[in-house]
Amino acid sequence: MKAIHVFFIVAIAFILLGCSLTVNVPTVETTTTQVLEISESIPSNVDIAVVQIDMGAGQLSIASGATKLVEGKISYNVATWEPKITTTSNGVLISQEHANNIGIPNDQIKNNWDIKLGYTPIDLSISAGAYDGEIDLTGLSITNLEINDGASKAVVRFDSLNPTEMRKLVYKTGASQVDLYGLGNANTSSITFESGAGDYTLDFSGDLQKDMDVRISSGMSNTKIIVPNNAKVIIQLTGGLSNVNLTGTWTVENSTYTSGSGARTIHIYVEMAMGNLVLITK
C-alpha cells in the first residue's frame, strides 16, 4: 500500500513536470518565394528519355503539354529545398533535398511543382514524400512508370490510350490515399501495387490492348477495384481478414472472384492482410 502511495506522489510530480515541459517543436524556416523555371530538351540519339522526379513534401502536378522533354516551374520558399536539375545522357533528374527537413509545416510553406512533359517516349520515375499529387498522364508516351511515395494523397490518371507500350507500372506507397484511374489505357501487361495502411482506388477502365497481370499487396487498407465489363476479370484474394463488398455481377468461388467477358483478361492477385476490399464492375 505504501508503494502505491509513493507511486501516486511520483505520478503527480511527473504530471506536473510534464506540464511545465517546454518542447521546442521544430519548424521549417521560410524565405521569399523562389521560382525555378524548367526547360529541358529531349536528349539526342535516345529512343526513350528518362525523367526522374524526386521531391519532398509539397504539391506535385504533372501533365502533358511541353514542347521539349520537361517544362514547368517549381515554386518554393524554403532555402534548403532548392531543387536541382541534373541532366544525364538519356534524360533529366529533378531532385530536392528532403531527408533533413523535419518540422511542422505551416500555411506559409510553399513547394509547388508544376511539371509538363513532352510527347516523346518517356521512362518516368517519381519519388516523393508526403505530398499532394495530381499526375495526369493522358496523351503521354510512357514506356515505364515507377512511383514511390510516403504518406500521400495522389491521383494518377490515363484518360486516353498510352500511345506506347508500357513495360510495367510499379506503384509503392506508404500510408496514403491514392487513386489510379484508367489503368486499361496504360497499355501495359504488368502492374504492381504495394501499399501500407490507407485508402486506395484502382480503376481498370479504358482501352485494354493486352492481357494484364496485376499484383496488389497491401497491409491494412481500404481498397476499391473497379473493372470494366468488356474484359474478363479474375481476382484471387489471399491474406488474412478482409471484408469483400461486391457491386455488379460477380461469380464467387472460394477466394476467386470472376466477372465480365471479352477478348482480354485482367488477372488480379490481391494479397491483403486486413481491411476492406470493394469490387465494382461497370
Partner: protein
C-alpha cells in the same frame, strides 16, 4: 523515500530528454552509394532508399513510408514496418516486424532473423533467404465480441452472479488472446516483460510520458491534414501497445506464479495464466459496491502505464534494446537480482543470443 523521489525525478527528466532527442529525427546527411549510416533510422511518411553497398548500422523503423533496400545494401539491426511498404533486395542482419504494412523480399534478399507479421503482408521470392522463423499472424480468428456500453460506476445492479460470470468470460477471452500473442511473439513478449522486471520505475515513467504525450503528438500530426492517415495509424499502434503491454504484465505475473510452483512455464502459458489472474482480480474488485470501481480503475491504470512503458522502451520487444532506456539513463550495470528473489525464466537468454542491454551499449 525522499531519496527515491529525487532519484526518480532525475530519471524522469533524463527520460524526457532522451525521448525528445529520439523524436527529433536527427538524421545524417543523405550520403552517396557505399556510405555507412550510423544509428537508427526512422522513415516517417517519407521515402528512403538504401543504395547498393550502403550500410545502416542500426535499426530501421518505417512508419507510413516507403523504403527500398537495394541489392548488396545492408541493415545491421532490426526492421520495424508499420503501415508502410518495404522492398528488400539486400541483407538484413536482424529481425523484421510488420504491422499493417507490406514487405517484399526480392530474389537477392537475405534476412538473418525472424519475421513476425501482424496485420501485414509478406511477399517472398523463392530465392530469398530467411534464416529465422516466419510468423504470419492472421487476425481472422480474433473475435472481441460486441462492446458493452459504458455503465456508470454508481449504477445499481444487484445481479452479481451474472456480472461475475461475465467478468470470468471476458478474462478468459483476454487470456486466450494472451496465449495467441505468446505463441506468435514469444521472444518479443519476454523482452517486454524483462523490461518491466528490471526497471519498473523507469518503465512506469516512460509509460506515463507516453500516455500523455502520444495523444498530443497525434493531434499535432493530424493538424497537418496530409498526415491524417498517419494519425489513424498511430491510434491503432497506440491501442495495440496498450493491449500488448497488458499481456506483458500478465506474463510477468505468470512467471511469478510458475516460480511459486518451482517450475518453468512456456511463454504462452505464463502469459495466459497471468493475464487471466489479473483480469479476474481487477474484475472482481469492481464488484465491490461504491468504491470497487475506483480500486479497479486505479490498479488497471497503473498496470496499463507500466505495460505501455515497457512496450515503448523495448520497441514492442522487437529489438534487443529491452531496458536500453534504463541503461542509458542510469549509466550503471543492470540491477542484480537478489539470490533469494524468484528468478524469472524470461531473464534467461539463450547462449547464442547476446544480452539485450549489453548489445545496445556495445553499439554506442
Amino acid at each position: 523515500m525522499k531519496n527515491n523521489f529525487r532519484l526518480f525525478a532525475v530519471i524522469c527528466v533524463l527520460v524526457i530528454s532522451l525521448l525528445i532527442t529520439t523524436n527529433a529525427f536527427a538524421q545524417t546527411p543523405e550520403p552517396n552509394s557505399g556510405t555507412v549510416y550510423q544509428g537508427d533510422k526512422l522513415v516517417m511518411a517519407d521515402t528512403f532508399r538504401l543504395e547498393s553497398d550502403d550500410v545502416l548500422q542500426g535499426n530501421l523503423v518505417v512508419i507510413g513510408g516507403t523504403v527500398t533496400i537495394a541489392e548488396n545494401a545492408q541493415v545491421n539491426g532490426d526492421v520495424v514496418l508499420v503501415g508502410g511498404t518495404l522492398t528488400n533486395a539486400g541483407i538484413i542482419n536482424g529481425n523484421m516486424v510488420i504491422i499493417g504494412g507490406a514487405a517484399t523480399l526480392e530474389d537477392t534478399a537475405v534476412l538473418k532473423g525472424d519475421v513476425v507479421s501482424s496485420g501485414g503482408t509478406l511477399k517472398q521470392s523463392p530465392l530469398a533467404k530467411v534464416t529465422g522463423n516466419i510468423t504470419e499472424q492472421s487476425p481472422s480468428e480474433w473475435n472481441f465480441g460486441k462492446p458493452s456500453p459504458w455503465k456508470s460506476p454508481f449504477q445499481s445492479n444487484n445481479n452479481y452472479l451474472a456480472k461475475f460470470l461475465t467478468i470470468c468470460l471476458e478474462s478468459l477471452g483476454l487470456a486466450v488472446l494472451a496465449v495467441i500473442v505468446g505463441l506468435f511473439l514469444p521472444d518479443q513478449t519476454k523482452r517486454v516483460s524483462n523490461t518491466i522486471v528490471k526497471e519498473p520505475l523507469v518503465t512506469a515513467g516512460v509509460g506515463l510520458v507516453t500516455i500523455f504525450c502520444a495523444p498530443i503528438a497525434m493531434i499535432l500530426i493530424s493538424l497537418t491534414i496530409i498526415l491524417i492517415p498517419v494519425t489513424f495509424l498511430a491510434v491503432i499502434v497506440f491501442a495495440l501497445a496498450l493491449l500488448y503491454g497488458w499481456i506483458a504484465v500478465g506474463n510477468v505475473l505468470g512467471v511469478r506464479v510458475s516460480d511459486m510452483f518451482h517450475s518453468e512455464w512456456a511463454t504462452p502459458f505464463s502469459s495466459g495464466i497471468g493475464t487471466l489472474l489479473i483480469c479476474l482480480v481487477i474484475g472482481s474488485l469492481s464488484l465491490i459496491p461504491i468504491v470497487g470501481w475506483l480500486f479497479s480503475f486505479m490498479i488497471s491504470l497503473i498496470l496499463i502505464v507500466i505495460g505501455l512503458g515497457a512496450v515503448v522502451s523495448s520497441r514492442f520487444g522487437s529489438s534487443k534494446y529491452a531496458n536500453k532506456v534504463a541503461q542509458a539513463v542510469l549509466q550503471t550495470p543492470p540491477m542484480p537480482v537478489p539470490p533469494s528473489a524468484p528468478v524469472s525464466p524470461v531473464a534467461s537468454v539463450p547462449p547464442s543470443e547476446p544480452e539485450p542491454a549489453q548489445k545496445s551499449i556495445a553499439k554506442k
